[in-house]
Symmetry: C2
Subunit: 281 residues, 2 copies
């Protein structure tokens, strides 16, 4: 009922997911492609790393018991797109070491795929996205411009007292380090047997494997432009077509009839208007 | 849980709503503005009139009993945007006479606002949108171009056997008739005491009260361009600000904490990550 009329696609991630409802964003494109078939639910949390996502995930994703008792919509597709913040270098409070990043991703995946997990979700197909290549100097410059003349936040002052301002303001992202986190995500995908959308490689290739080429794929050195999001969206859709074709929008039907049957038999509209499954028989 | 982590905005309507997740569409803009606060659920059904929407509405909107038993998300805002198809002239199968259009709109509103209705929803704020001005000749030309050289559908052949092809192919929309349906929607809004977003008047004024001026507000004589949707979105947001300010996105907080508290106290992340209400205390 209500929002439970249709099954769902859930997008779990950081700001790259949260901003995905912006113009040309991948979330908006998915919502449009799946309209009347699956609802697209954005669970993107700007600034979060995999450590901070884990407790949020447990509050967002139902246990099997809750799923049944509350007749919740089935999550058909789940994108997990994390690592862009984990890859921030120390002393950034966002930094998560590579080994824990891998363990956290595996924990998210196993929570849904282990039959003995309380959140076991056998109908949920997972797409693991790698973080994009980051342009560290450009991101640092963007942050400096955004905060010029402003009082630094308390956390930055506290950190600077420990490690000095130079360390706090140094670029904390890079193509190289984001590439290591992307490789780690690919490894987790292979180990856990889930589909990977390799955003890092797709964007790096679109950039001609040159940091300068990232200019029109990223708006600020970290977040994606419409052109960047288009590549992400295309990667998601082609991965669904290849790995989970039964969940591709072209293979689903609208949950309520299209207008043609009403035009054919206007007198029979009460029958025609009966809800059906998005899955064709 | 799941998709029930956040309360919702539901958009009920026809193709103008369904296409609202397209680039620059009003649904995509709302989803972006309310991200992490309220989920935007698109219940737009291309080609539907108010007769056909009524049974769909009953399957999409929970009874109070379902709402409580299933702990469904509260629908905080509901847009009702219908009439563009009701205003199709006879012999169109979409035509709904003006008096029944008004009765149908009132039935939708009362289903949610009458304390004795099974779907009584006291926390749902309704925005009633008027249909846009239609450019009949342009829409007829668009349809003719789209279907040129194609076998007519069965419903058109059946209808033509009764009334002749000339009547079936004649422009069935107009500025004038859509204006009557818009006036009727305004009357229903006033009678039922719900906020009206007068899309018809806003677009007609933006067009300089001249059919030619509709050219860049409509893409095909019936559906809205990005420029048209921008006017609709602005109308919705300013109406929320005026009538239901407690539900304006600027007056809500994110359901999960922003990143700053995590930066301040990374060690306390389990507490910081606890879900809270979108309504500030």
């Amino acid at each position: 009922m209500t929002t439970n009329t249709q099954d769902a696609i859930v997008l779990l991630g950081d700001s790259l997911t949260e901003f995905g409802f912006g113009e040309g964003g991948f979330a908006a494109k998915l919502a449009n492609a799946y309209v009347r078939k699956l609802d697209v639910i954005n669970r993107g949390f700007s600034g979060y790393n995999t450590d901070w996502i884990l407790p949020v995930f447990e509050q967002c994703f139902p246990t099997q018991e809750q799923q049944q008792q509350q007749r919740l919509p089935t999550i058909r597709l789940l994108t997990i797109w994390l690592g862009a913040n984990d890859a921030a270098l120390p002393p950034s409070p966002q930094h998560v070491p590579l080994s824990r990043y891998k363990a956290n991703l595996a924990r998210l995946i196993r929570a849904l795929r282990s039959p003995d997990s309380p959140r076991y979700a056998p109908h949920t197909r997972i797409l693991l996205l790698t973080p994009p290549p980051a342009d560290g100097p450009r991101w640092a410059q963007f942050l400096a411009e955004q905060t010029r003349g402003m009082e630094p936040p308390e956390w930055a002052k506290k950190l600077a007292a420990e490690v000095g301002w130079e360390a706090v303001q140094r670029p904390d992202r890079s193509v190289e380090v984001s590439g290591k986190y992307a490789a780690a995500a690919r490894e987790v995908g292979a180990e856990e047997g889930v589909a990977v959308v390799d955003v890092w490689t797709a964007l790096w290739e679109a950039a001609g494997k040159d940091e300068k080429g990232l200019g029109d794929l990223l708006v600020d050195g970290l977040h994606l432009s419409e052109k960047g999001y288009k590549i992400v969206y295309d990667g998601i859709v082609s991965t669904i077509a290849e790995k989970y074709p039964e969940y591709h929008f072209d293979n689903l039907q609208t949950v309520f009839a299209t207008y043609e049957p009403f035009f054919e038999n206007p007198g029979d509209y009460l029958n025609i208007a009966k809800k059906r499954s998005a899955f064709k028989d």
